[in-house]
Symmetry: D2
């Protein structure tokens, strides 16, 4: 594929849902080599035994930064708090990192500490680029630490960017719905099949950690507001829908909406504008965000619905998209829609 050796990519935390998909995508990627997969809970097992569907024939190792630090890049799929020290250790060895946790997403340290407590690598705080390639693609290309966005922020920001940039957003209600994989792999009463089958329920009401991330990035885009955001768990595996109800400072016509979204999608291979509301099945196992926007005459609001796969565009495949940019590769390589 290239005259120089393919970049070698470590996946640390490959036994979680998103980490495992990241390992799979890197393993089959035409321009990357999977250097190793590590885990904190399943050391010694084959990743292909833990996740037969991913067919990655590699043993999960305990992370050893000295040994695994020989990679060119790493995708770190650790929980927040645990991620920062690993990112720091890898950076010391010159490894470029895409971090799936929340540890480097926020740019205001008191805000980070309010939501997450003490930071695990304060010396690096502020060094990362927010890894939403549709907004920060150029900075990502040059970055050494990319903070992969949360799943809800990914869908919400891709849905609202055209409106935010117009600086006409006055208020927005985001009602978000996620499959259960969003709650992670650790078994709990909440993720028990019997708890979620034939059920739907709000969670984290008024206190979801993705809220400051959404507010930070909406403000950066031009909408300095306190977003009303509520997440719900739904009885499905992968998939996420955000339903956004936007109050604007002036009425938008459908024509203006259509133009703004067509313009926004232009040149973005993973932003798909749909004439009808999306279903989460439309984007399962893809890096696509599918968006439907309409001006609602009756209420004067703009409604925007956006669907992503929370484990793909909301985590693993977006990490690969970022890696592609970091290594000067085509953005879609290995994750074609």
């Amino acid at each position: 594929m290239s005259c120089v050796a393919d970049p070698r990519v470590l996946v640390a935390g490959a036994s979680g849902f998103a980490g495992a998909i990241a390992a799979r995508l890197v393993d089959r990627h035409p321009a990357f080599e999977l250097s190793a997969v590590t885990s904190r809970s399943d050391i010694g097992k084959l990743l292909g035994d833990v996740y037969p569907q991913h067919r990655v024939d590699a043993a999960l190792q305990e992370l050893d930064v000295d040994r695994h630090g020989d990679a060119d890049a790493a995708i770190v799929a650790y929980p927040h708090g645990a991620a920062a020290p690993v990112v720091a250790a890898l950076r010391e060895r010159g490894v470029r990192v895409v971090d799936l946790s929340a540890d480097f997403r926020l740019r205001d340290r008191p805000t980070y500490e309010h939501w997450y407590g003490e930071h695990g690598a304060p010396e690096l705080f502020g060094d990362a680029v927010y890894g939403l390639p549709e907004v920060y693609g150029e900075q990502v290309a040059a970055a050494d630490i990319v903070a992969n966005p949360g799943c809800y922020p990914t869908a919400t920001l891709l849905a609202l960017a055209p409106l935010a940039r117009s600086e006409t957003i006055r208020d927005v209600v985001v009602d978000a719905k996620s499959g259960v994989s969003g709650a992670g792999r650790t078994p709990s009463a909440k993720t028990h099949f019997v708890s979620m089958a034939e059920n739907v329920t709000p969670y984290g009401v008024g206190a979801h950690r993705h809220m400051p991330e959404i507010d930070q990035e909406l403000a950066a885009l031009g909408a300095p507001i306190a977003t009303t955001f509520t997440a719900h768990l739904m009885p499905l595996d992968q998939g996420e829908l955000v339903s956004c109800y936007v109050t604007t400072s002036e009425p938008w016509s459908q024509e203006r909406v259509d133009e703004a979204y067509a313009d926004w999608a232009d040149g973005k291979p993973f932003v798909e504008i749909s004439a009808v509301p999306p279903g989460v099945r439309d984007v399962r196992d893809t890096n696509v965000c599918r968006i439907h926007a309409r001006a609602d005459e009756r209420t004067g609001k703009v409604f925007v619905f956006a669907a992503i796969d929370n484990l793909w565009k909301g985590a693993a495949s977006q990490a690969v998209q970022n890696l592609n940019l970091m290594f000067g590769l085509p953005e879609t390589l290995g994750i074609e829609p």
Copy 2:
């Protein structure tokens, strides 16, 4: 149970999802006798063969108003448009009717015609009582025609009544989520298992027929607003959740919210206030509406989440609740939580 004969209740349209449950509830009701079950599509079949789970041992007949008009009351479970003439014919024979369709819910005729077209029994338009017993219980007791509310209005109004009555609602976004049974029994691409498994999707965006009903009743309660309402289909059978984001004219404290909702639930056997957000499983196969309300300091809004079973409190068991009131019986008879 009583020295006079039990009221005889006809269920017309018993082969639909809600009609079948209505037949089951009447059939087992300690104070009603199921006089007959009729159907437009399954004439001659046993209801117990069409719905084995309901165990109603009665043959579905073609509706013959002369013959079936000997009932004391009827639950009519027809589609809108088709319901009104049947209601009129039953009323002519003195049958008291609970109508599950939308035909008698709206009190403004141009609004009805705008959303549904010509009315099928214009001479009766305006004669019905809106059958939300928690609001109109006294009028229901005296009514000859009760317009059973739609499922979304039921959940939304029970969720918002305390706020509406305070006359402090300025705007409300209602994001509603329903199981697939809400789309009815007629097979279609939309209700195919494969369309909805692992999916969630908005529908009827900007044009859902429950909107004028919600607006009419919120206005009657004290909130004359244009509600922002969007319904979503979720991969489950029965169950409905409305997530309401309310902008008020003045900030509400959590104490005020708690008092208002405790006061609202007081004496209402089917209104359940919960300290945590409800899941739709909590109310499956019951007439209960389970509500969680909280003042959100961050946004200044009030969030209210309400769960019902769309086929029970959203249709069939609410009809029985209305019948109980119409015949002077305890409100909970035969539908105890």
Copy 3:
């Protein structure tokens, strides 16, 4: 309901799936009084908070046999091994017990020890009646310890009894399918929503603990064979289907099959013979076993399909059926189909 006080029934282990339903059924039963609910894991919580859908307004207590031994009867919903000592302690205080565990189902002690290890109350081994009321109803009425059958044996024995009694069974393959609630409430990788959504998988292959129980009872009925039995987990909550493929010593005609099954169902309020194969939805939340049997000309075998709700007829409601018999009450009281 009676001139003497209603029997007081303790539910020990009420925070498990089956125990909670047992508590609900006893709580609403017209002839029993729920004396207390106990739990090993949720002491102090309201049962109605742990399971809002059951609406049982009682606090979960730590089991104290001295105090709780004042009940007339108990339903013990403990895991095998842990159940026997509790049953013994309750028996010492004169409490009549329905035990949901496997501890008293087997009549051969070496077989018990082979499958489950040492017995927790060896002095009582052999004292229990196997609580399948359709077979052992008379003995149950007089019993002090009733061993409530496993869910798979319940469905399998009700399905095969007419054939077993004819002494013509030579071999039988039972392919069983259960909802995830059958795996219990403890969260695990296996019961994680993401593991089971869109999945189906065999489990316990060749080593399922319900096999010796099935063999014991089939032999007692007239079929001394080694049953081929495999269980599968399916992506649903409650419900169980056993598909039985029976090789007989002589061919059965459909007429003979029909007669045998009609005869079997006669007088049994919870055995339902269906002309078409049952679905598990047909029996959800009921004590019914719905059975379809047919002679297959092509292979010479008899096929029998039986559906139950694993948590109801397979556990909690069958326990109530047994209690009804033990206290001389109508078999269907409080669990009417």
Copy 4:
């Protein structure tokens, strides 16, 4: 990819579930060009609008054999009966065909007529190769008509081939479980979400059309028996599991089983032998058949469990596997596991 033009492949019947996936696979295949997609029901629509998830940007056309007969090959995804005339017409124009229907699978014409009625292209009856590449790969390579196997026969034959070839099978019970997509795209009461959610039910009992196909091919492999076969619908979308209980003429040890299956899988890129029972999730959206076989000492039987994706290995991707062989390409091209 090659110095000669890529083979042009028509997909006729691309609006069905399997046809749509076939179109997607051909569209992205590195060595095929999708010449056209046709439909009987959605003419003029974009395939990408009917199935957004497949992202095939082609309009569905009415089949015109004169025009579409310029393709090098065709995948025909029509119902049985309707397929044969289309296959015949395409063959007249020299198009090599993989037919997904049952029209060319059976080699005995009376058997075909017994199960399906009159044949639609009797002059071609017997000309096709049975397209199970793991068995008939060489013949497929030279064939002009390939009869793509049914989904249940695919899984069953791949599961039982090693035993059948040993000529020791005396009897086999196949209990098959399929996702609802197996019932096709036409909406019906059976495929309504509400019919299948939280349900599982046998169907086609004693009369499933895949039985003669299984018997024909098992006989060809060395097991001339009447298979006991029953299919069940499960509450999931894609996926199929066959549980096979095999009575052999002599006992098999686990060692012999392991050797036979290792030998069978050797060199077959899509046959995967697993040390634990497979789940259907393990093979979703792949052409893989995952198999677990074990000698059961207790009953003397051999148990074999095999999982496939009914729409992929059971239909669309197996068609592409066949096309790969027909055009001398690597068997896995475009459908790598």
